[in-house]
Symmetry: C2
């Protein structure tokens, strides 16, 4: 445990499971599985990689509790799937101290016509079946040797549709009342708990804000979280948005719930500031504590700098740090941070290429990885850092309201790309972009400010070169059009 | 100046204008004007009412700088409109210490077919004309005797479309670069400033976050605000959302930019917590201060409790408090707060009936006002408070996951409605709803918590009765469905 990241690297007991540190990789679509729903080699490699990096808690991608048609998707809808999961769990446990739980999911039907099934179309028997399927799948989770299970009650899926303000049912699961909206989750939780026993960690992920018109906000999500704590959920992981209601329909393709604004917010890209959603875990956690529940809460949303992660924990804004895209890009983040090797992190720049791949039904990889790689590069492949023996030759010029940077290629074993660092008015230096080519146009610069840039080349495992030469630009400010006031009277206009 | 609200009631110099307190009513659509664009009696009454209530700065609704077709809308597109505005200004100045500025606007064409003109369809000549029209209108603003002018660069209108990340122009007003997106505002500001002179207050309203897919966020809006400060804007008023891009099209009706999610966020309703947008003025103001600019910033978004307003100012999260719906409901808010008569405020409950009226092209009034009233009730009409001489008979029962409240009608001169107050687990009491009838169903209650309710009747000017009897409900928690685990094996499912 390093002094600087004392909280981040502290273990945490979650029911019978003790996670070695506070870093959690939330469920991420990989599209690595086959259509058959079985665990395959690529899936195992993906999760083992997180274990090698010492991620505290690994949440396996959404795994279906039923047989409904879908694209490539892991399943636990039948006993035949258990063996594969068992192998996955064994390999992960063999690779390091990480704990691992799968996220189990029920989803409704979507058609290429744009039609989709909604909660109010389900019969009471359908709903009872869903409850039983959740219980049975959870039982298989335990049998496979997982350390716990996470119920998927977020985004566009069945349990989230029940929690939603847009739930149109009018029975036990009545969308008109908070209690009605909570009933399906309660029934599912109760079934799952009965199946797996009191000592088995059961977590949940749900939306702190639906981020859609007429959707629920923090006013409701505080109460939803409280119900989850009352029920006995062992941890609460948050997300926001990712709904069908504002999804963009592409003809001939099933609706994808991350194509609208709520999808933007779910996986906030480079346009968003760091930690855009930190108020959600802050408020929800403090509400739970005020009600006497110590249920751990996972903070989420563009948290990638180790100091930010530690501060979130120190300030009581969360108990764990959920980090999806940053851990995809570099699963060794926890190990590197813990060893004081922060500058070797392959930094996620939130370009959302991973999101685009998912949206286009392609295997999800990271833009920063070597071309064609299916997994994050290992640490062994790159002992030497890249360098510029003849100087980096970084130059900058202003053109058409942009700062245009160019530099020379670095040398070294498998140079993977370049991080661009910028300071505004000689303030804090931040990494604003990563490029694989040797040029970059900075289009978000304001005349009247000065900008100082340097780049660092990075190798396959993230180990960077020394900084290049730095260049400073005093951004000029184009004059407004000459006012016409002097020469024109109002009546002429 | 009261001790408790020292900052709130302190004057503020904005260029040559000194506002008597920090309460500002931002521009709100009234739909009270005729199609002719002239100031009429109803318009004057609306703004005089704010002056009677001692609102520090009154911003008159968006007033067109051009003649383009639209629904009822004030105009300053020709000298013939000046006289009406002069009368409005004189009446407001005669009614109290308030300052008054109009918000001047350019908007593009929308058609009932759903088509709308976008910035990239404008020729260079069109753009030059817009710049000149802004200058000419500003000149008329000064001639009418206004205390300053506000440039509308928010929501779905021309200047905001230029600032937007979705600006598709590729010339001087290039949407690819921040400088390009800022150029139109710079040209307009420079023209306006040349027209009105250095001593005339020129404020601006713009979006701190577009709240649409691929729109800009705080990352850009800090820089946009800085440019506005660099240019010399005398105050910066913020808003969020309200865009065409996610507006819901209703056949045969022109698109209305507050019908989508960004419209939800622009005027956050009852589902949102108080102060949902407070981070925007906080971050923008602190960025401006760090850069050496003391431009006043208006904080916005569901700020209606006097203690919240004062705290925002004390904590340096804003220099003025923008309050639209609360001041519509009760324009006497500043006067009542300053006189220690807080409990007489007609409290906005963010039901957004005003928003619905606007959306349906009807005159904008407040649900809390007497039926048929076009303006907020005056203070003179209701000296006596309502009362329940025989007791209020408040009862509560739990039914279908709701708490159903009923009470008896109060007596008194023109009882207008009832505020419902609730405390959760004997915590803080908050006003959760206002009703004109004598019943209310609370649908957002959680089993396992206790709720204490009382109601207060209020008269036309907000003066409330004493609290009714109070009732406490220990909300029961419906048991989840009996787990099937015991009796069912997995293979049966």
């Amino acid at each position: 445990m390093t002094g600087q990241y004392q909280k981040l690297m502290a273990p945490l007991a979650i029911n019978s499971m003790v996670i070695p540190n506070r870093v959690i990789v939330p469920a991420m679509v990989t599209r690595l599985s086959g259509d058959d729903g079985f665990v395959n080699q690529a899936i195992m490699d993906r999760y083992v990689r997180f274990a090698e990096g010492h991620v505290g808690l690994i949440v396996v991608e959404a795994t279906a509790i039923h047989n409904a048609k879908s694209g490539p998707l892991l399943r636990l809808s039948d006993d035949k799937f258990i063996a594969g999961h068992k192998e996955l769990v064994d390999r992960v446990h063999g690779a390091g101290p990480s704990k691992i739980v799968p996220q189990i999911i029920h989803f409704m039907k979507v058609a290429r016509s744009g039609w989709r099934q909604t909660l109010d179309m389900l019969s009471v028997e359908d709903v009872r079946a869903i409850i039983r399927q959740f219980g049975a799948a959870a039982c298989r989770v335990r049998e496979a040797g997982y350390d716990g299970v996470e119920l998927h009650a977020a985004h566009a899926y069945t349990l989230a549709s029940s929690l939603s303000r847009l739930n149109r049912r009018r029975d036990r699961y009545d969308g008109h009342t908070l209690e009605g909206r909570l009933a399906l989750f309660g029934d599912v939780y109760s079934e799952v708990r009965a199946m797996v026993g009191e000592d088995f960690p059961v977590g949940v992920r749900f939306l702190a804000d639906e981020m859609i018109k007429d959707g629920y906000t923090l006013e409701d999500s505080r109460l939803i979280a409280l119900r989850m704590a009352q029920l006995g959920c062992d941890y609460i992981s948050l997300s926001v948005g990712g709904k069908f209601e504002d999804a963009v329909y592409h003809e001939g393709r099933p609706l994808y719930p991350y194509t609208g604004y709520s999808g933007d917010r779910c996986m906030p890209g480079a346009l968003y500031p760091a930690l855009p959603h930190i108020e959600y875990p802050t408020q929800i956690r403090s509400y739970l504590r005020a009600k006497g529940y110590d249920t751990p809460v996972v903070a989420i949303g563009k948290i990638s700098a180790p100091v930010d992660a530690e501060r979130v924990l120190q300030e009581g804004r969360g108990d764990m740090i959920g980090m999806a895209r940053q851990l995809l890009s570099d699963p060794d983040w926890p190990k590197k941070v813990s060893a004081g090797r922060e500058d070797e992190i392959l930094r996620c720049i939130y370009c959302n290429v991973c999101k685009q791949l998912d949206e286009n039904f392609k295997q999800v990889t990271c833009f920063l990885w070597p071309k064609g790689a299916l997994q994050a590069p290992g640490e062994d492949i790159c002992a030497d850092r890249p360098s510029w023996p003849d100087g980096a030759g970084l130059t900058a010029r202003v053109e058409k309201g942009m700062v245009r940077l160019t530099w020379t290629p670095a040398r070294g074993p498998r140079v993977l790309g370049y991080d661009i660092y910028r300071a505004e008015d000689q303030g804090t230096v931040t990494c604003i972009e990563a490029k694989k080519s040797t040029k970059f146009d900075d289009r978000t610069v304001l005349g009247g400010l000065s900008y100082t840039y340097y780049v660092r080349a990075f190798g396959e495992a993230g180990a960077p070169s020394r900084p290049s030469n730095s260049v400073r630009i005093d951004m000029p400010w184009a004059a407004p059009l000459a006012a016409t006031a002097a020469g024109v009277t109002r009546s002429e206009i």
